[in-house]
Symmetry: C2
Subunit: 147 residues, 2 copies
């Protein structure tokens, strides 16, 4: 089992970041404009759609302003059953976001791609608060021939 | 043992990317302007310096236009003994760069930070070729309170 790990610091409150991770409008502001479902209740499903496909995430843990955990219930085969964890801490002027996409069976080439792409979207989340504008799909930074 | 994985595609030749990974001028164009040493001969050491410290990397494998492997011989405790591997492949208009910083003992918070920061520098490497300008330290994108 291998994980994708990231860390960013965002100059806003943990409550604001938590909202951006648990509401459709928030998520659409930094990950993909085509976000549907419900991210604010346990057991509900969020649907993230991109040009090439998408992911369905079940909300399995929520601690307001602190922690969010999603389980991937539909999407690319390599993603199904993996989990995406978000941990928030206020440190000085920053909300520190620790990110962990865990439970990959193998470190396949697609996992390399997803790791870099998650960094791009975490910087989009940071930008949403620090400049007022994120870069969700389809306005995201393209990183390679897989986009 | 846990790894940091990334993948970018760069619209240039593998020979150009290999040069940017094995020469002081190339490395100074995307990672840190304060790069010294020799990256083009086995057994030699590259010294990368940043405001807060730096890393010494011994060149342990070189396959022209294909593969570079460094071993960290000095730097932060968590980095010492880890290895940084670069694998290049030409696919259509892109040189695909697969990156692996391997051999971390534990997935410490600093590893989360370094994973995101490597993505930033890989995009700097991409930018160096695609726009003519990288963003090496001290001009790099700052990601959190650790910089």
């Amino acid at each position: 089992m291998v994980d994708i790990l990231h860390r960013v610091g965002i100059k806003t409150s943990a409550a604001e970041v938590y909202t951006a991770l648990t509401t459709v409008d928030g998520l659409a502001g930094w990950w993909t404009t085509d976000t549907r479902g419900d991210g604010s209740s346990l057991g509900r499903v969020l649907q993230f759609r991109f040009g090439a496909g998408g992911f369905d995430m079940k909300v399995v843990e929520l601690t307001p302003d602190k922690h969010v955990l999603w389980k991937v219930v539909d999407g690319p085969e390599e993603w199904i059953g993996t989990q995406v964890a978000w941990d928030l801490d206020q440190v000085d002027d920053y909300t520190i976001v620790r990110f962990n996409h865990k439970g990959w069976k193998e470190p396949v080439e697609f996992m390399h791609h997803c790791s870099t792409k998650w960094a791009v979207f975490l910087l989009s989340l940071k930008s949403l608060f620090e400049t007022g504008k994120g870069a969700p799909d389809p306005h995201d930074v393209k990183i390679d021939n897989w986009n």
